[in-house]
Structure formats: structure tokens, C-alpha cells
């Protein structure tokens, strides 16, 4: 409840002291923030009778001075410009301005200058600057997420913008929670380090007054890590409800758009999947596909029972009951049809793309050993005509990440086969991934084969057998959280910023993954929190990834990297790179060190 409640509280406070009819004006950024936490009917209860976007308002000139305007915007320069125009020719009676993050003094100046009619009644900073999709999971919905993969020299200003946005988002989370954390970051990631340091600067120097909260015995922990330390999780196909819907169809701000995958009646084109509002979803969001199927069947049976009763109306009592329960019935009907539609669509996709077979191999690649078997399996699937291009790409990537160093010849064979089977495949993408997130780049023990303890654990798990071969994968995050819980997060891998230090275990931990989180990881966090170990984890990221988005970021980053380099990688160069065993490609003179972050 934590994050969603925080945003709701901010919104309620914004609206509660303003009486009368109100209009709420948002920007494209705050619309997402507000929509996942507050519903339209709740706004109506607070007498907000109109919601508009700040950039669309300028088209109309209609004056509604009986309405009081409540603006909730991000403190960007575009918004300040829009506001200027609005203040100069005000349409509404009163103006109450709220910003989702820290305003610069110059911005306040500009606004003060334009408020000639003195319509502004208040100007406040309310730090709801993150999209709280689930109680312990937030995202920043960043558009140019791929920038994190590129070193600063490539595009300094855009990278700075990304860092600023991330720092602001993290700061807002802590302001909402009224805490100031101790900060650690993943050593091998430059961007994680940079973000950690800039956040520390903001919280402890630039705005230290704002963050000066009541100190508790043990400060909370902010851990900034890099997506590339665990590139496997976003590539895997998912089999638990929320993650699966996002992987196969796509969830944005807790909404699922079904229009692209088929014909649906008007009211089913877009549906809402929110654990706050949908009890069935809340119970089933972390369950695997088989169990969901059963639960939905049960739901449908229940619903059919009720419908049958409703159709068999004979006494006045029956009729009375029907009318009394009609709104509930209608709601249940909507809910049931939503879930049935989703599961049906996903079943279809699973069937079409032969995901049962593909995913089994994926899981083996991610979890168990056996390079030879893996190579065979991947080759077979590459040859299989019904496997889609994206699935082929994922398989090769997963294989490459795992067996990067073993048998380079076979790896090259896979690359060639991939290029030949998938015409749209951009050559060098897998290699780009390896450069970004290969074994030399990673801190964490992704495959459990570095640490003796992990190897033992894996063996034990293998002997025990897995409950469900499709959900055997545990994201690296699970290990990280375990280490934190046991107080064993290694300083050498995850150093503290500056002179921060923490004795003992923190009670609240915010983990921010630069590059994006996945729903599999948010599930992991939710289940961990449910175990009540005394530590509460919150997960956040720049976006919420699925394999499509992750691959898109990779492609985009590769495109920019190649453009910067000024030449494209010829295919035979790939062979050169991997023929020399275990060593990095020879540095050519003048070649900048682009891909080693």
C-alpha cells in the first residue's frame, strides 16, 4: 500500500481544502501518476468536474470563472511556459499550483511575473513524482531509457537528463516516505555510481534542509543497481499472471490495450489490471498460468450460477434480490469477461508461438547446466519454422549470455543461423548485448556458478527437482535481497557513496534498477515482503521492461553507438572477436572505448 497510499494522500491533500467546483489540470507525465492511484469517481466525489491536459487547454478560450483550477504538473520548462500563458489570460477563478518535484527559483520568478491578475492562491511542491503501479513497485516511465547503456561521451546532455530524472524520481520517493537513506551502488556500473552520487548530493547538500527528517536508529538503504547485471530476467518469457500479461500483451500504467491483438467489443478494448481495485487480480497476479486457469474457471462457474439465478426469477423475493444485487452483478460480469478475455488471448499466443517449448529451453538456459544439450536445443528451435523471430533472438541471447566463453565456434554458428533465419535481425545485436552485459561486466553471480556457496545451492536445487519447470528461474534480485536481509551485501561489490556507512541491517530498502525493472522482479519483492522478515523492500526502475522493450532499448543503443562510431560492424568481425579465446578484441588505434562502461 505504501507507494500508492503516498500518492493518494498527496492528491487528497491537494483537493481537500479547496471548496467548490474544481478543474484538475495535469500534464502527460502526471496523468500517469494520478491515474494509477486515483479513480475518476473519486475525483468526482471531491468535486473535480473536469480534468484537462495543460497543453490541450490552450486551444480553447472558454472562460469558466466559477471553477477553481488545481494544477498538478512536473516542474519542466515547457510546463512553466504553458502556465505563463494561462496566468496571463486566466480562464478560471482561482489557481492553485502544485508541482511534483523541486522548483527552481527562476521558475518561481517567471510564474510570479506572469501572475498579473493575482489569480494564484498557492504554489506548493507535492512530491508525487513516480508512477506507483503496485504497493511496492514504482516506475518513472522514462521515454529514452536506452541512454543508460551508452557512455557519457556519446550524448552528454541526454544522459544528464536521464540522470536528473532518475535522481528526482528517487528523491520524490524518499520525500513521500519522509526518509533520508544511506546510499549504495553497484560498483561496476558507471551510471549507477553517477546516479547514487548525484542523489547523495541532492539529499545531503543541495536540499539538505528539505530532507532533514526525524532520524531513526537505522537509516533506510537506497541501492542503485544496473539492469545489465541481470540481463536474463527481462529476456525470459513469463508464466505468472501479471508478468505474463505484460510480456505477451503489454501493461502500461496498469492498463492493458487489447486493440492490437484482436477484435474486441468497445468496452473491452482497454482493461484495467490493478491490484487495488480488482480482488481477483490481487489474489492471482503472482500465480502461475495453470493455477490462474483453474481459478478463472471457478470464477466463471460462480458467475454462471448467479446468472442462472437471475434468469430464473419467480418470486418477488427473487426479483427484489436481483435488483438489489444488480450493480454487483454488473461489476462481476465486467470483471469475469475481462479476465476470461485476457487468459484466452494469452493462451492463443502461447499456442501460436509454441511458447511452452521455447520457454522450457529458456528456463534451462537460465537455470541449469549442460552446454551441449543447450546448444542442441537452441539449434533445433532455430530450425523450427513456427518459432517467431523474437523468440529466436531471445534464445540465442540467453545462450550467449550463459555460454559466452565456452565453445565460441558453436556460438558463432548460432549467430549465423540467427542471421539467416531472421531477416530483420540487426547483426551484432547479440554481441552488443554481450559487450554491455557479458560476464566481464557483471557483478552479481547471475548463474550461481561463481560462488562456492551458490554452486552448492544450485546442485541441491537440481537434486530436489523443480516444482514447475517454467517458473524455476529466480531473478538475481532475489539473491541481492537475501544478502541484504542477512546483512551480507558485500562492500566490495556494492560500495557506499562517499562516507555513508551503515551498521547492521536496514529496515527499509529501496532498490532502484537503472534501465528498468520487470514484473517478475516486482513479484519477487512482493513475495519477499510477505515473508515479514522485518525488512520492507521497495522496487523501482526507469521503466517496466518486457522482452520487447528490452530488445528495443538494446537496438536503439546499438544504433546510436554505431552511428557515433561512424561505421557498422561487418559480420566477419564478429568471427574475429570470438575466435580469440577469452581475450578482448585488440584495440584499434583511435577507437574509443565505447562499450565498456
Amino acid at each position: 500500500m505504501v507507494l500508492v497510499t503516498a500518492v493518494r494522500d498527496y492528491l487528497s491533500r491537494m483537493l481537500q481544502d479547496i471548496s467548490g467546483m474544481k478543474v484538475l489540470i495535469l500534464d502527460s507525465h502526471t496523468v500517469s501518476i494520478v491515474s494509477v492511484a486515483y479513480s475518476q469517481s473519486e475525483l468526482l466525489q471531491k468535486e473535480v468536474f473536469l480534468v484537462e491536459l495543460v497543453d490541450s487547454i490552450s486551444k480553447s478560450r472558454e472562460s469558466m470563472s466559477h471553477l477553481k483550477a488545481v494544477y498538478f504538473l512536473a516542474p519542466t520548462s515547457e510546463n512553466i511556459q504553458f502556465l505563463r500563458r494561462h496566468l496571463v489570460s486566466p480562464r478560471f477563478g482561482e489557481y492553485h499550483l502544485f508541482f511534483s518535484n523541486i522548483l527552481k527559483d527562476t521558475q518561481i520568478h517567471i510564474l510570479a511575473d506572469s501572475d498579473e491578475h493575482e489569480v494564484v492562491q498557492q504554489l506548493q511542491e507535492f512530491y508525487a513524482d513516480f508512477v506507483a503501479t503496485d504497493p511496492y513497485h514504482f516506475t518513472l516511465n522514462m521515454p529514452s531509457n536506452h541512454m543508460y547503456m551508452l557512455p557519457a561521451v556519446v550524448d552528454h546532455s541526454n544522459l544528464q537528463r536521464l540522470c536528473d530524472r532518475v535522481v528526482d524520481g528517487i528523491a520524490a520517493v524518499f520525500l513521500a516516505l519522509k526518509r533520508r537513506p544511506v546510499i549504495r551502488y553497484q560498483r561496476t556500473s558507471d551510471i549507477a555510481k553517477r546516479i547514487a552520487q548525484e542523489t547523495a548530493k541532492l539529499m545531503y547538500q543541495q536540499e539538505s534542509g528539505l530532507f532533514d527528517f526525524r532520524r531513526t536508529e537505522i537509516s533506510p538503504l537506497l541501492l542503485v543497481i544496473d539492469r545489465r547485471d541481470d540481463p536474463v530476467t527481462p529476456l525470459l518469457n513469463q508464466w505468472t499472471y501479471q508478468a505474463m500479461v505484460h510480456e505477451l500483451i503489454g501493461i502500461q500504467d496498469n492498463k492493458v490495450d487489447l486493440r492490437n491483438i484482436g477484435k474486441f467489443p468497445k468496452d473491452q478494448e482497454e482493461v484495467v489490471l490493478s491490484s487495488e481495485q480488482d480482488a481477483f487480480f490481487k489474489k492471482n497476479m503472482y500465480e502461475n498460468f495453470g493455477d490462474i486457469g483453474m481459478n478463472i474457471k471457478q470464477l466463471v462457474d460462480e458467475f454462471q450460477q448467479i446468472s442462472k439465478c437471475n434468469q430464473n426469477i419467480q418470486t418477488i423475493e427473487d426479483m427484489a434480490k436481483f435488483v438489489d444485487n444488480y450493480p454487483e452483478y454488473r461489476k462481476m460480469h465486467g470483471n469475469v469477461s475481462k479476465h476470461v478475455a485476457l487468459v484466452t488471448e494469452m493462451s492463443k499466443l502461447v499456442e501460436e508461438r509454441k511458447l511452452m517449448v521455447v520457454s522450457q529451453t529458456e528456463q534451462e538456459l537460465a537455470c541449469n547446466g549442460g552446454q551441449v544439450a543447450a546448444f542442441e536445443a537452441v539449434t533445433n528451435l532455430l530450425n523450427n519454422e513456427s518459432v517467431s523471430d523474437i523468440d529466436r533472438l531471445r534464445l540465442v541471447m540467453l545462450y550467449a549470455l550463459r555460454y559466452e566463453k565456452e565453445s565460441p565456434v558453436q556460438l558463432m554458428q548460432l549467430f549465423n543461423k540467427l542471421s539467416s533465419k531472421s531477416p530483420k535481425y540487426k547483426p551484432g545485436l547479440v554481441q552488443f548485448l554481450l559487450k554491455q552485459a557479458g560476464v566481464d561486466k557483471r557483478t552479481g553471480d547471475l548463474y550461481g556458478n561463481r560462488d562456492f556457496l551458490n554452486i552448492a545451492r544450485n546442485m541441491a536445487r537440481g537434486l530436489k527437482g523443480v516444482e514447475n519447470v517454467y517458473t524455476q528461474h529466480q531473478p538475481l534480485l532475489f539473491q541481492t535481497m537475501e544478502s541484504i536481509t542477512k546483512g551480507r551485501l558485500r562492500d566490495v561489490d556494492y560500495p557506499f557513496v562517499g562516507n555513508h556507512f551503515q551498521q547492521g541491517r536496514p529496515q527499509e530498502v529501496v532498490i532502484f534498477i537503472v534501465g528498468g525493472t520487470t514484473y517478475e522482479e516486482s513479484r519477487c519483492v512482493a513475495l519477499q515482503n510477505a515473508m515479514n522478515t522485518g525488512i520492507r523492500f521497495i522496487l523501482g526502475g526507469s521503466v517496466i521492461l518486457n522482452s520487447k522493450r528490452f530488445l528495443k532499448d538494446l537496438e536503439e543503443a546499438q544504433r546510436i553507438a554505431l552511428r557515433t562510431e561512424g561505421k557498422t560492424y561487418p559480420i566477419n568481425l564478429e568471427a574475429k572477436i570470438y575466435s580469440s579465446s577469452h581475450t578482448l578484441p585488440p584495440r584499434r588505434t583511435g577507437e574509443k572505448n565505447h562499450f565498456f562502461c
Binding site: 468535486e47 480534468v51 491536459l53 478560450r61 470563472s65 466559477h66 498579473e116 426469477i313 461489476k331
Partner: protein, 323 residues
């Protein structure tokens, strides 16, 4: 949750800048005064003017001068309607509280035949129903066409009030059914004392039919109201309840729905059928579901007029209705 109030800083800047600012007056835009809001535009000629003085070149637009001291302006006329409805809803809520008390009192065992209690309950119920019905009719009037923004506000006000009305109706219905059920329980428990009671209370013996009629009437009312409001009330948790969805799809959906509702109303009037069978009441249920499934017809009209007298000691037997 931390917040930071920058209003003081803002006001300080604003006051400082006000004194520094060159005297700006509003310039009446010569061609585009659309008779609307306080549009202030600098006359373009002043920019071309070489010596760049901003002294007023034309008379001030009279409408703008009143903007100096800012007050919340007068709302449009339809807001009166919405306020009327809101007042009715409030009144109805007060009466509901009274009704609850009356129900509780009527259920308590007492001497006397409790006729005043029943009359009070009946009159309160009737008043609340009337308030709801009146409000609902007024609500329909809110949805006339108008300028774009205003129509959005109007639609949202309608939805909010519709939700209130629906909740109110359902509350009423729930209270009634609880009351009737408790009443039934009471009287069933009193079967053994019938003889005694009959000595003084026989005149106000509740007829099974009357009870049915009352139930039917209340169910009728509720169904009618729900049918009318269904188009306006937002289903919580659905896509329609999302703010981002509403920003995109503003007035179109509700207009369509209302048009459909009008059509249904016209069609529905010709379809009333009422079969009077001896002890039973013939009822067909018709509810127009927004999604177009399930058709049940409510018999309207004549049911609403039956007076109802409730007595404590009666034996309830619900006659089966012939559908």
C-alpha cells in the same frame, strides 16, 4: 509525506515584480473579441512601433477591468439545477436517518397497534422516493448541449449526482428489505399469540398482497432509477473509471448513451403489461442493460398507487408470481 509551500516566496516575487513592472493595461483586440473571457492581447502595432512605448493606445476593454479584484465568477445557469439536486440528496439523506429511527421504533414491541409508526414510515419512504424521483428528472435536464468544456463539466457533475442518487436508492431499498424481513420474523414468531393479538389488532391485519405490493413498488422504483442512471453511473474499477481514459474520451460516450436511453424510454412506454391474477401479481422484469443483454420488463404505473397498511401480526405467504 513531505511537501513544501513556496507560496510565500511566490508572493514576495510577485509583489516585487508588480512594482517594477511597466504599467500594462489590457488592449482590446480589434478583430477577435469573441465576447468571451478575459483575453488580453498586446496590440501588435506596439511592437512595430519604433519607440516601443507601451502606453495604452486604445480604450480598455470594459470586461477586463473588472478582473483586477479577483472573485470567483458567476456559474452558468445549469449549476443551479445541480445544486438543487445536491440539496435534494442531502434532504433525502436526513430523511433516511429519520426512517431508520422509525423502522427501529416500529420493530420494537409496544402496546397499541403501531399505526402511527407505520404511517410515519410510509410517509417518510414516500417522501424519499419522491425526492429521488424528482432529482432524477432534474438530472436529465442537465444534459443539454452546450459549449465544449462546459459540457464536460456538466457531464461529470451529472455522473457524480447519478452515483449519489443510485447509492441513495439502493440504501433505501436495503433499509426497506431489512425492515420487512425483521417484521416478518417478528410476526412469524408471534403466530402462537395470534388469538390474543387478534383481540385488539385485527383491524390492521397485513394482507399478504399489500406486503407484496409494497415490495414490488419499492423494487420497481429502484429498478426504474437504476435503469435511468445506469448510463451515467461509473462502474468502479473499469476502464471508464480511469482518469487518463476520460481525458481522451470526453463527452462522446455519455451523449450516445443518453440518446439510447431516450430511445428506450419511448419504446418502453408502449410495452407495459400487467396481468392481474388473483392472489398473485404478474410481473415481468425488464431492465435495459447497457451492454445489451438480458431483457426483463418491469410493470410500471398502476403498482405505484396502492396504499399500504402494515400491521404487526400477519402471516406472510408470498404468492408465486406467474411470469
Amino acid at each position: 509525506m513531505a511537501t513544501r509551500n513556496r507560496t510565500l516566496v511566490f508572493r514576495k516575487y510577485r509583489d516585487a515584480l508588480k512594482s517594477v513592472r511597466a504599467p500594462t493595461s489590457s488592449y482590446a483586440s480589434p478583430s477577435t473579441s469573441s465576447g468571451g473571457g478575459p483575453v488580453i492581447e498586446l496590440v501588435s502595432t506596439s511592437l512595430l512601433n519604433p519607440n516601443r512605448n507601451y502606453a495604452p493606445l486604445s480604450t480598455e476593454d470594459p470586461g477586463n477591468s473588472s478582473r483586477g479584484a479577483l472573485t470567483v465568477g458567476l456559474p452558468p445557469a445549469w449549476v443551479d439545477l445541480s445544486e438543487e439536486i445536491a440539496a435534494n440528496v442531502q434532504r433525502a439523506r436526513v430523511k433516511m436517518a429519520e426512517l431508520t429511527k422509525a423502522h427501529a421504533k416500529a420493530l420494537m414491541p409496544s402496546f397499541g397497534d403501531g399505526k402511527e409508526d407505520q404511517r410515519l414510515i410510509e410517509s417518510l419512504t414516500q417522501e424519499i422516493t419522491n425526492l429521488i424521483r424528482k432529482s432524477e428528472k432534474t438530472l436529465q435536464r442537465l444534459s443539454a448541449a452546450g459549449p465544449f468544456e462546459d459540457s464536460n463539466v456538466r457531464k461529470n457533475v451529472q455522473r457524480s449526482l447519478a452515483t449519489d442518487l443510485q447509492t441513495l436508492s439502493m440504501d433505501l431499498r436495503k433499509k426497506q428489505s431489512t425492515y420487512l424481513r425483521r417484521l416478518r420474523q417478528q410476526t412469524e414468531g408471534q403466530d402462537g399469540d395470534d388469538l390474543e393479538m387478534n383481540l385488539n389488532g385485527s383491524t390492521s391485519r397485513m394482507d399478504g398482497d399489500d406486503l407484496d405490493d409494497m415490495v414490488v413498488q419499492s423494487v420497481n422504483e429502484l429498478a426504474q432509477i437504476m435503469k435511468d442512471l445506469a448510463v451515467l453511473v461509473i462502474d468502479q474499477g473499469t476502464i471508464v473509471d480511469r482518469i487518463d481514459y476520460n481525458i481522451q474520451n470526453v463527452a462522446s460516450t455519455v451523449d450516445e448513451g443518453l440518446k439510447q436511453l431516450q430511445k428506450e424510454k419511448v419504446r418502453g412506454r408502449g410495452n407495459d403489461s400487467l396481468g392481474n391474477e388473483c392472489p398473485g401479481i404478474c410481473i415481468e422484469l425488464k431492465i435495459h442493460v447497457l451492454h445489451g443483454e438480458g431483457r426483463f420488463v418491469f410493470a410500471k404505473g398502476s403498482m405505484l398507487i396502492l396504499p399500504i397498511f402494515i400491521c404487526r401480526d400477519f402471516v406472510l405467504s408470498f404468492p408465486r408470481t406467474r411470469v
